[in-house]
């Protein structure tokens, strides 16, 4: 029986795991991938350079995730970090415990923290699915270097899209940022880097309507002309159009979600509308989603789980092997 199971092993889940271990909670952190990111480490592993995690001027996303994992696992008597995709989470009644099932194992816990994050939204236009991995990609860090001296596109207008473009410009001959809105909105430092980079061309108020090619992508059709042309010859397209919260499992337990699929939490204590269930990180309803804000919420969630576990009597309505064995050994 775990005191807490943290579903999600990105930076938020790992930070929550560390703190839960520190608070003496028997903790399981379960991580899975929804595609390109690492199951332990999460989407930060897709970011080459992290410069906005306080205390670290510059480090790679993978390094940050590894640091957090090491710190969580430092509480080795209390914290287990494992790969595993939670398929179902059930609870029998208000006082009951949770059962988390993956396709290989089953775990019991007194409380749950959802740190499931989000998954990248796939490009919707014609050809995007057909050419996936044949010129359509979602991880510049992984596949960008394959396009040395080629012409590539980043679709999106966020700071993430900007960072992807800056990374790709280290390899490509030309990088178009194609965004449907009026203006791209990177952080000021990245806006400056983009404006100074002669390889990057920003094209706004424009959508790609079709991705075309043969064995590989070789052109895109736009809905607006750029420099007199609405067909551009390109070698690759990298999608950076935002993400969808992974909240289905939480919903199955009665956790409320908002119209975007995010889990609204009480930002004081990371509680959800369901007793014993907490949430933290990108899956929640905060506006400003960064590694550091997720980590902070994860730690708060761990503390709330600790308070919850210590304040409540747990009577599990399914067979609790540990409890039964402990009772047996007492009566013998």
């Amino acid at each position: 029986m775990y005191d807490v199971i943290i579903i999600g092993a990105g930076v938020t889940g790992l930070a929550a795991g560390m703190y839960a271990g520190r608070l003496n909670l028997k903790t399981l952190v379960l991580g899975a991938t929804s595609g390109t990111e690492q199951p332990i480490g999460g989407v930060i592993t897709l970011t080459e350079t992290v410069e906005n995690y306080p205390g670290f001027i510059k480090l790679s996303g993978s390094e940050l995730a590894e640091n957090l994992q090491k710190h969580a696992e430092d509480y080795k008597d209390k914290v287990t970090v494992e790969e595993g995709k939670a398929i179902t989470v059930e609870r029998h009644d208000e006082r009951g415990c949770f059962v988390v099932k993956t396709d290989e194992k089953q775990y019991d816990a007194k409380s749950i923290i959802f740190a499931t994050g989000t998954k990248w939204r796939k490009l919707p236009m014609k050809g995007a699915k057909e050419f996936e991995s044949r010129g359509v990609h979602y991880c510049a860090l992984c596949d960008g270097p394959l396009y040395k001296d080629k012409v590539v596109v980043v679709v999106g207008g966020s700071d993430t899209a900007a960072k992807e473009a800056l990374f790709l410009a280290e390899y490509a001959k030309k990088v178009y940022i194609i965004y449907r809105g009026e203006q791209i909105r990177p952080e000021p430092i990245n806006a400056k880097r983009i404006s100074e980079n002669k390889k990057i061309i920003v094209v706004t108020k424009t959508n790609i309507v079709e991705i075309m090619g043969d064995k590989l992508v070789n052109k895109i059709q736009l809905d607006n002309k750029h420099e007199g042309k609405d067909v551009l010859e390109v070698d690759a397209i990298f999608g950076a159009i935002g993400s969808t919260p992974l909240s289905e499992l939480a919903k199955s337990l009665g956790v409320k979600t908002n119209e975007k699929g995010e889990i609204p939490i009480n930002h004081k204590d990371s509680t959800t509308n369901v007793k014993g269930i907490f949430a933290a990180g990108d899956v929640t309803d905060k506006d400003f989603k960064q590694a550091i804000t997720g980590v902070a919420e994860g730690v708060v969630a761990a503390y709330s789980a600790y308070a919850y576990v210590n304040e409540n009597e747990f009577v599990c309505t399914f067979y609790d092997k540990e409890y039964a064995e402990s009772k047996e050994s007492v009566t013998k």
Binding site: T36, Q38, G41, T45, L46, E48, G61, S62, S133, R134, G135, H137, C139, L141, C142, D143, G144, P145, L146, K148, F167, Y171, K215, L216, A236
Partner: protein, 79 residues
């Protein structure tokens, strides 16, 4: 002897995981950095039909991405 070739880019974390896995299991492999070698990109494309890394070639059998189960199966690694 099994011939193992892994096509990678330097910044890809799944590529790193694949190499770590092979090293942990004492599997000798040749690493091909496709960021440096355009001919290797074509070779990888021909073998795997796609442009995502990592691609692992185990005696002609191809694994796309870091797939621990498939790697274990094709390399006869138990557990």
């Amino acid at each position: 002897m099994t011939n193992v070739k892994v096509y990678t880019t330097p910044t890809c974390s799944s590529c790193k995981k694949t190499k770590e896995f092979l090293n942990e299991n004492n599997v000798k492999f040749e690493e091909v950095n496709v960021a440096k070698d355009q001919n290797a990109v074509q070779e990888m494309l021909q073998k795997s039909g796609q442009m995502g890394v990592p691609v692992t070639d185990i005696d002609g059998q191809i694994i796309i991405g870091f797939d621990k189960l498939k790697l274990k199966k094709l390399l006869n690694i138990g557990g």
